[in-house]
Subunit: 681 residues, 2 copies
Amino acid sequence: MSASGDDDGVNPRLREERAGATVRPRALGTLIYGGEQSFGRMLEIQELMQCDPVFDTSDRPFLNHTQRYLRSAQKMGHFHTKMANMGLTEREFKWAYAAIDEVLPTDVHMAMVIPALEFQTSAEQRARWLPLAKSFKILCAYVQTELGHGSNVRGLETTATYDVNAQQWDIHSPTLTSTKWWPGGLGKTATHALLMARVIVNGKDHGISPFFLQIRDMGTHMPLPGIAIGDIGPKLGFNSTDNGFMRFHRVRVPRDAMLMGVAEVTPEGDFRRIPGGDKLAYGAMLDVRANLVIKASISLARALTIAIRFSAVRRQGFAGEGTATADERPVLDYPTQQRGLFPLLAYAYALHFTGERMRVDYEAYLHTLDQGALPALHATSAGLKALVTQTVADGIETARKLCGGHGYSHASGLPDASANYLALPTLEGTQQVLEPQMARFLLRGLAAARRGGGAPPAGCEYLASERQLLAGGASGAALDLLDPAVQLRLFQRRALVAVLALQVAVAELTAAGVDAAEALGRRAAEAGRAARAHCQLHLLQHFAAAVQALQAQASAGPCAAVINEREAAVLRDLCSLFALSTIEADLGQFRDQDTISSQDARQVLHLISDLCASIRPEAVALVDAFHFSDKYLGSAIGRFDGNIYPALMEWALREPLNASEVAESLPHIKLLVGTHPGARL
Amino acid sequence: MSASGDDDGVNPRLREERAGATVRPRALGTLIYGGEQSFGRMLEIQELMQCDPVFDTSDRPFLNHTQRYLRSAQKMGHFHTKMANMGLTEREFKWAYAAIDEVLPTDVHMAMVIPALEFQTSAEQRARWLPLAKSFKILCAYVQTELGHGSNVRGLETTATYDVNAQQWDIHSPTLTSTKWWPGGLGKTATHALLMARVIVNGKDHGISPFFLQIRDMGTHMPLPGIAIGDIGPKLGFNSTDNGFMRFHRVRVPRDAMLMGVAEVTPEGDFRRIPGGDKLAYGAMLDVRANLVIKASISLARALTIAIRFSAVRRQGFAGEGTATADERPVLDYPTQQRGLFPLLAYAYALHFTGERMRVDYEAYLHTLDQGALPALHATSAGLKALVTQTVADGIETARKLCGGHGYSHASGLPDASANYLALPTLEGTQQVLEPQMARFLLRGLAAARRGGGAPPAGCEYLASERQLLAGGASGAALDLLDPAVQLRLFQRRALVAVLALQVAVAELTAAGVDAAEALGRRAAEAGRAARAHCQLHLLQHFAAAVQALQAQASAGPCAAVINEREAAVLRDLCSLFALSTIEADLGQFRDQDTISSQDARQVLHLISDLCASIRPEAVALVDAFHFSDKYLGSAIGRFDGNIYPALMEWALREPLNASEVAESLPHIKLLVGTHPGARL
Ligand SMILES: Cc1cc2nc3c(=O)[nH]c(=O)nc-3n(C[C@H](O)[C@H](O)[C@H](O)COP(=O)(O)OP(=O)(O)OC[C@H]3O[C@@H](n4cnc5c(N)ncnc54)[C@H](O)[C@@H]3O)c2cc1C
Ligand SMILES: Cc1cc2nc3c(=O)[nH]c(=O)nc-3n(C[C@H](O)[C@H](O)[C@H](O)COP(=O)(O)OP(=O)(O)OC[C@H]3O[C@@H](n4cnc5c(N)ncnc54)[C@H](O)[C@@H]3O)c2cc1C
């Protein structure tokens, strides 16, 4: 921590930044990664994985989809073999996977198939399949989406027709559009499939159920007879995995290929759904979504680590009239750069605390299996999925743009980070499909609150405070916008106003005879607003509560606390910045029904500037806190040591075109310019 | 135009859409491409280029940067040879280049070098260099940016030191960071460079001036002695061009390598800038920026053509309880889809009319060389560059997301379109650097208007109407938000309020002793708002004026008009949608100082829905109007005939991984699953 000039190889600008910060990256890292021990272990595992040359990522920008898949298949084989030998806990396994930073062809096998085999099978099936899946003796794709249908699962066309005589299912793709399309790992890797198909028994359509079946020969790896499989080709991102297609021609599988935890069919062909059978799967979704929020925090923080370190090192523009490089200021000094980056930094922290809280909620649910809490948790997690993936995708792109030209080069690591993350807003449900789920829940919540039917679920208390909140609109007096209680009230009132506006808009239509679902569809704009407002309130609540707890611990003394009072105060600033920049971004809605006054709205701008200025000296330390290794960042401009220019040059020299002074383009050039040896202009 | 079911190979859904539209794509195409004759010629040239197999683009998604550059070099050689034989007009040449849809290594040669050689040279230099450049006998990069400096041109480090004795310049890169970095076509293609370097004469630093010099041998194409050149490696987009680096070690060039149109040096070493020498170059910038706005319109319309056609064909979700595919509605019916796509469609049209107007302004300027109009045109064009490139980049990405999973595949053509366009917000100046230019102009304009110094420049009249506009804030009565005059007044008042807020914010600081530039820097948020507000007003003005003129022509009768009254009315709806969706997006600012009331703000939402509903049946025709060929779109899901599913399947089969049933990943798979011939689960 010295700025004394002794040469540790770190760029002096970053040394200065680190010396000037008051928060301690180690302390914050300990907080982020769940305590001293687990933090240490995480770093250990990260190092262990990243020093393994098979997991090297530096060749990626030079490869096309075909090559990236093959490299990633190599990593897959090596990774799971290594894991089998290392005997890690489940959490450690997750760190190890995160550390190699590759969407392996087994990604969906781990994330979706294993939970499905766990929660949607009969005990017998579970015992038979799960160990094989968990030991990667079989590789299984999650096969739902078809060429013609994704969002609308009810519209899937693949059929599983029960043949009572043979006691078999006949799996068939009746149309081109029923071809399965997109499943990760399906194209060239998977030996098995967890398949969603339309169940037909005795000519009766029972809707969609999951099946588990082998799709390739375990010897030759050839597709089994009647099954056509392939890779769907290059994508924006996710090129390390073989998203695939699959078409069936009358393929026979045994009766119990159907997952019997959610539905059953007797040998005689009596089909029935098991009441409550999908509850566990439904619960498991909470875990998936909590992980999604944590990962969103990591993805955003990673882009910000690059952009903030770069902005601290990058000098561009003179303070005065000088032209000496030493007179130039780091671009991090520019208010525009700060206003671009720091609200996103606040957002990354907000996501971290919210995600951790969602994990706790999920564990509490697992303990009690209290179904009562489920609808609220579930609806909010859907709304958050829509909001968070979109915001983080935009945020990564903003961070990239704020690196100027260098952010446009793959040398920065940002194009790849952005391209991969951009799958997330689409995967597992688009915003347009998820927001109405949240909105429906809010309308039900409002109706229940008005009926006075018991306490509203946690996080929805505002729905029961209509009178007080509406009375508390903007008055003449200026608000103390830095007061956490004031911020919370503004978010609550704004959410309430949005839910009420939605309710009125929908009621108008239903009163005119439109059915409820259709009415909500037509009022999707209002529904989206309400969903966003609720979810942003949710983020603020969890962020603010975490900070408050940390402040209390810190002021209770060093023994009780991971971070000190100063650090807690900086987190408090970040929380305020989160609140105020959200208000600024959605000001129109906060001004609706005068939740905030015109005067206070202007004040918001100034306070954001002040908060940015006070976070400025801590910015590098606040991203250092996430402890991403240079290997993980894969960025010439985001390196810990800040020596970005030699790194950029070194990186460029890897480009194959530089292997010779004159490239194979020569004949095309000569076609135009001709050959004039020795000619000089 | 029949929906009678006769099989023209077009997907019935698109046939239906086209039959249901009232606007005629041909008439709108004639309008967009400047009259019957030029429209026809454009189509001819487009076809001529695209049927040439060398210009095939369908292999692109499968290539990495190295391969794409080599393919594009081939296209470059072929393109310029073909052009030399075809003898096109300048405008036709532009169409031909647009038609091949590739950023050639000669892109910057055409866009920036030729104008520089035209406007910044002495007559003698012009005569010597320009014919070579125009005939592509030399290939020249525009070499300004360095590893360490881009935005801050004053900070460039490359030196050109005059040696009086030899009457030569000594070009040198004194540091690693002075290495030239980014210039398009520099890496492996260019034979020459238009180089920005710091002029040093007799030890005195005269700032940055342009030089023209040879960098590779005209025989061997090897870099000349003392010059190191290379390619900077793969990028987010623009991979068809060889953005390069270049470093000089004491390279000698003759005295008149310096461009003598803007500055001169005598043989004895007297250096002087030529007064007014940069005026022409400054004017030429207007042309560049007008083209940028037109191209932005094309880029956005292209993405929308894909997304809107796809949305019309894509069925997803049942209207009622059914599950038959025929019952499913096209996603274009969903209000969310409409609210996502149609405001962007309105934006594409707004950009078209604004760009055309900027061209007219530029030509008027060329006629009169009236310097008076220049500052306003120039500042607005800088602000528009910042606003438009950002909005269009976001818009393309929105359109891509609205295609769900298929939008994430390169088969859609959208990832590539998006990645290439994303260079634009960064290239030639970032938003953070351009907006202050616009803001400074607005502050000067406001000060002039308050002094009463003559009529304000065109487009800035609102600055001189402080009193009237401020008096016209929201009153109790609801506004007619569809009235063009009302819309214009709202935009003017909002712009005025933003400029006033900026003025006050800056004045507070300058009163406290902060210097003006620094004050503007600190109030960048306010400056950005004012710049945006002004530019959005600018777009509305031009869009509305064009529509008004078209309405007048149309009502004067068919002889006078390209489009009919119905078409003009649809454009009027688009213009209203542009206005209202801008208000919605920036509602906080329109609510500032009550430019619009809370009630009217809510009305905006409803009116947007209504406008979307009325545009709905015209949407496909409105994108058909741009007449992009299938080859140009390069999209399996955006094809004219709407047969997206067979096209997706065909496209996927091109993936090299599908050349064999079992890929080279087999050993890695077997490492995990082992070999169990005949095993069945
Ligand atoms: C990288 C990647 C990996 C994937 N991996 C897998 C996998 O492993 N297994 C698998 O089965 N699938 C996978 N998918 C598919 C993915 O789940 C779907 O793409 C996603 O659910 C979106 O569905 P869609 O593609 O059908 O989009 P569509 O629904 O066709 O989307 C088109 C547009 O219509 C809108 N829309 C659709 N329905 C409605 C509605 N009811 N109301 C309003 N708007 C609507 C959408 O919001 C969108 O704007 C993957 C996709 C991607 C991109
Ligand atoms: C695809 C591509 C092609 C290119 N082609 C060429 C070419 O042919 N020839 C050539 O010479 N160059 C070329 N360039 C370089 C390009 O012109 C620069 O990248 C661009 O001007 C941005 O400058 P920068 O990279 O230095 O960004 P920086 O200025 O370093 O940007 C970093 C951040 O600092 C901010 N910032 C910088 N200065 C200020 C300020 N004064 N106030 C507030 N914020 C500030 C920026 O807005 C940005 O957020 C190309 C770049 C790209 C991406």
